[in-house]
């Protein structure tokens, strides 16, 4: 197990350097003036340009630029946003909000997704299963922002059950609807994954053997089918962090949530390139850490991996 963790950490090193380098390369090494490019159509003031040149060390050789950039990333020295506030501060304020939103979303997609998937898998081909499949396909094929608009319109505007936009405090109750929107696509994937996994495991030899031992059907499903089927589902939820962050940009934008995603959304809309790039770099690092944790979780859940050499 220790060796497994060590090896995974070791494997992450080139990925970490590679991915951050890739982002840096895309922004700063492609032809054209990177500073101007970061602002798109707008023209920044000379003072801002000067400040950015200094921040990104554009007078240094490329590889030095990258290393200094890397240093600023890991020390969270991310420069200033448009309004002059340090990006690190903006992030510190926005993160708790997004964390609340993500927690609610993961909770919803896991509980609802696994429940629906379990019932579907156990009743493959029946009415419930077919309906769940149709719903899941619909959820995947409708873009999240459309689902967001529609739910916002129906539940906040028409029915008045909740507020259409989230206040600056972004309390738990305000975040329920956005969390459902954010979780919708993953919810659909989890239904499908759980369903396939359950119905595959139902036919496994060890499940028949478990029944032959005299266990009740309930216990067979709980202990032998569900436990084994949940391994891919749990790892999916972890690995889905990437999609969740992209979703957060869209969802927080729609509901005007003062979280990390909302900040990126505003920055994109206002053409604040430096902020977007800094935030996305942090997202990528979070995503990598999440993937690492998922791998470790996998090893915890599946003894075949834990004890393999």
């Amino acid at each position: 197990m220790l060796w497994f963790i060590g090896r995974r950490l070791l494997q992450m090193i080139p990925v970490f350097f590679g991915a951050t380098f890739l982002i840096y390369f895309m922004v700063f090494a492609l032809p054209g003036d990177p500073i101007l490019a970061l602002f798109g159509e707008k023209t920044p003031s000379p003072a801002v340009v000067e400040q950015l040149r200094a921040q990104y060390h554009l007078d240094q050789p490329f590889i030095v630029q990258y290393l200094l950039y890397l240093k600023s990333l890991v020390t969270f020295d991310l420069g200033n946003s448009f309004s002059g506030r340090p990006i690190a501060d903006v992030m510190a304020k926005a993160f708790p909000v997004t964390l609340r939103l993500a927690t609610l979303a993961v909770l919803f997609e896991a509980v609802a997704g696994i429940t629906v998937g379990l019932i579907s898998g156990l009743r493959k081909g029946k009415f419930f299963d077919s309906s769940a499949l149709v719903v899941s396909l619909l959820l995947i094929s409708i873009p999240t922002f459309v689902i967001g608009f529609v739910l916002q319109y129906v539940f906040a505007v028409q029915l008045g059950w909740t507020k259409a936009t989230v206040g600056p405090q972004a309390g738990w109750s305000e975040l329920v609807l956005p969390a459902i929107v954010l979780a919708s696509v993953s919810f659909a994937y989890i239904i499908r994954l759980t369903r396939t996994s359950i119905s595959e495991n139902m036919g496994a030899d060890y499940v028949r053997t478990a029944s032959s031992k005299g266990l009740t059907r309930g216990r067979v499903v709980r202990v032998h089918v569900l436990r084994n089927s949940l391994i891919p589902v749990v790892t999916f939820i972890g690995a889905d962090f990437g999609a969740l962050m992209v979703g957060a940009i869209v969802t927080e934008g729609i509901f005007n949530i003062p979280g990390v995603g909302g900040t990126v959304f505003q920055a994109i809309k206002q053409g604040q390139g430096p902020t977007v790039v800094s935030f996305v770099a942090v997202f990528v690092i979070i995503f990598m850490v999440a993937n690492l944790l998922v791998d470790l979780l996998y090893a915890v859940l599946d003894p075949r991996i834990r004890y393999a050499n």
């Binding site: 036919g203 030899d205 031992k213 202990v223 004890y307």
Partner: protein, 587 residues
């Protein structure tokens, strides 16, 4: 088994008292599988048999005969869309086929134990062994606390033959060998001291020596407790040796049943006769009888054996001209196995192996899993480089073959046939293209000539020419092996390396393919390197035998010497482990 001494004494004495009391009665059992396009396809079509208390009954049949389906139907654990469509099953006087789900759950495990076929897939990989035994005990009310369950689980496993059970309770299935897992499954099946044990091919996936030890142990345990055993197997020799009663199934029906001795001595139904004639383990027995008592043996021996013996003699004649056609001297093969950390171990798969094969003869290479026999095949085929020693074919060292042209010439000379009939043919290629591939690769003939050669080859392996346009998916295992042989023969090779080429086939089909191989050898003067785990098969086809164990050759001799007068202990073990070896043909 003595978890509960009182109950134990009780069942044992009851068993002896009602020796003729029916424990399991299957009456006109019918099972069908619902399919989308064909409606209900029957798998078991009216099966009747009775298993008395304390008896062992074996159901014998080929794959698809309905034997396993019958076993699963008894405890209502049919897979997928399977359903009992008629008849009834009585267990200890109660109609268990009429029970509801809850009632049958109560019977399973506690009164009827089950030992499944494949030890690799029948233990849940994410729970440790201890957990899987303990939950059985608790589900059947045999343990009331956690510690109690643990104590009893250790006992169950120890009795199943895992002496270090206490220390291995926390380990997971993948940390156990196949034989050990099967012991765990047997332990689970017997943990509640059931009145009936259903054992569905419990040792088919294991090496013969392991199989023998486990079956001996199982027999001992069930004898002690007076447990009735329903034994499902494809191996007639095994069935006859292990069960006093036999039920032979064919196409979902019983064709013959009765005392094992009666049926083996006097098979009446033509299908049973076929099975008896083809069973290699019994065949070798028959040859011995033939030597002793000619008159009696003629009835037992069919034409197959006579011709095989004749052919062997002819081969012996021919071999004189080609002594040492293939010479393997001091051949070794080592692999580097990466361990955790930066350590790497050297693993010697083949260790200083030497033997010679004469031209036109068959060398049987026999060994269990891990003996290095398949590695030897790869070396012979020049698919992997040697680590040491030399192999020469027709006086030429194969290590000295350099360049594409020489290699192609070598490939034309030596061709393989592999074990797995489902992996040996590319499912995307039709039969004509499969057989023509070697001709295309070596640019032999025009496309018209190639097609003609494909037809000729299909004739040679006794396949209708109309199979040309078919795909492997439509053929049975035996037919695929024939196609693989045709492909191997396309380049008119001189040597065939047959790596477990008939091991995965049903016994009748196996007999056919073996017969085909010996005919082809006769006709084309081929030299065979016949690799197998099955000594009984070797007896039928090989002139000389190498017995391998852990990468080394432990014994090399002519087939007769090995069978009649085995020198090494390991060879003797292998011989006595052949199922049916212990069966007496007396009447």
């Amino acid at each position: 088994m003595s978890i509960d001494t009182q109950a134990n004494v009780g069942t044992a004495s009851a068993a002896t008292a009602d020796q003729r009391k029916p424990m399991l009665e299957v009456r006109d059992l019918q099972v069908g599988f619902t399919t989308q396009d064909k409606g209900i396809v029957p798998a078991v079509r009216g099966v009747n048999f009775t298993l008395n208390a304390g008896e062992t009954l074996a159901i014998v049949g080929e794959s698809g005969s309905g034997k396993s389906t019958t076993a699963h139907a008894i405890i209502n654990l049919l897979p997928g869309t399977g359903k009992i469509t008629g008849g009834s099953v009585f267990f200890d006087g109660e109609e268990i086929s009429a029970m509801n789900a809850r009632q049958i759950e109560d019977v399973r495990g506690r009164l009827i134990g089950f030992v499944p076929q494949d030890p690799m897939s029948n233990l849940n990989p994410v729970w440790n062994i201890g957990f899987q035994v303990e939950e059985t005990l608790r589900a059947n009310g045999l343990a009331d606390s956690k510690t109690d369950a643990r104590q009893k689980a250790i006992k169950v496993l120890q009795e199943a033959g895992l002496s270090d059970a206490a220390s291995r309770l926390k380990q997971y299935p993948h940390q156990f060998s196949g034989g050990m897992r099967q012991r765990v499954l047997i332990g689970i099946g017997l943990s509640s001291q059931p009145k009936l044990l259903i054992a569905d091919e419990p040792t088919s996936a294991l090496d013969v020596t392991v199989q023998k030890v486990i079956l001996d142990h199982l027999a001992m345990l069930t004898r002690e407790t007076g447990t009735s055993v329903l034994f499902i197997t494809h191996d007639l020799g095994l069935a006859a040796e292990r069960a006093e009663k036999l039920v032979v199934m064919y196409q979902g029906k019983i064709v013959e049943s009765g005392r094992s001795k009666d049926i083996l001595a006097d098979p009446v139904h033509p299908y049973t006769r076929r099975l008896v004639a083809a069973a290699p383990s019994l065949a070798s027995k028959r040859m011995q009888i033939q030597k002793v008592e000619d008159a009696d043996a003629t009835e037992l021996t069919d034409a197959l054996d006579v011709t095989m013996i004749e052919r062997a003699e002819q081969r012996e004649e021919r071999a004189k001209s080609g002594r040492g056609y293939i010479t393997v001297s001091d051949v070794s093969k080592t692999y580097t196995i990466r361990r955790g950390g930066f350590k790497a171990d050297l693993f010697t798969a083949v260790d200083k192996v030497s033997f010679q094969i004469d031209k036109g003869t068959t060398m049987g290479i026999v060994g269990e899993s891990g003996s290095g026999k398949s590695t030897l095949a790869k070396l012979m085929l020049k698919l992997e480089p040697l680590s040491g020693g030399a192999i020469s074919v027709d006086g030429k060292d194969i290590d000295s073959i350099k360049g594409a042209k020489e290699l192609l010439a070598f490939r034309r000379k030596v061709q393989p046939v592999f074990q797995d009939p489902y992996g040996t043919l590319d499912p995307m290629y039709n039969i004509a293209n499969t057989i023509a591939e070697p001709l295309n690769t070596h640019k032999i003939g025009t496309s018209k000539q190639r097609r003609a050669r494909v037809r000729e080859l299909l004739d040679q392996v006794l396949m209708p020419q109309s199979t040309m346009n078919r795909y492997p998916g439509e053929l049975s295992g035996g037919q695929r092996q024939r196609i693989a042989i045709a492909r191997a023969l396309a380049l008119k090779p001189e040597i065939l390396v047959l790596d477990e080429a008939v091991s995965a086939l049903d016994v009748l089909v196996q007999g056919q393919v073996l017969n085909l191989l010996t005919e082809l050898q006769q006709e084309l003067g081929l030299t065979y390197m016949f690799i197998t785990h099955d000594l009984a098969v070797v007896r039928l086809v090989a002139d000389r035998v190498c017995v391998m164990q852990k990468g080394r050759i432990v014994e090399t001799a002519t087939t007769d010497e090995v069978f009649d007068n085995p020198k090494e202990l390991y060879t003797q073990e292998l011989l006595s482990a052949i199922p049916g070896a212990g069966f007496e043909f007396g009447r």
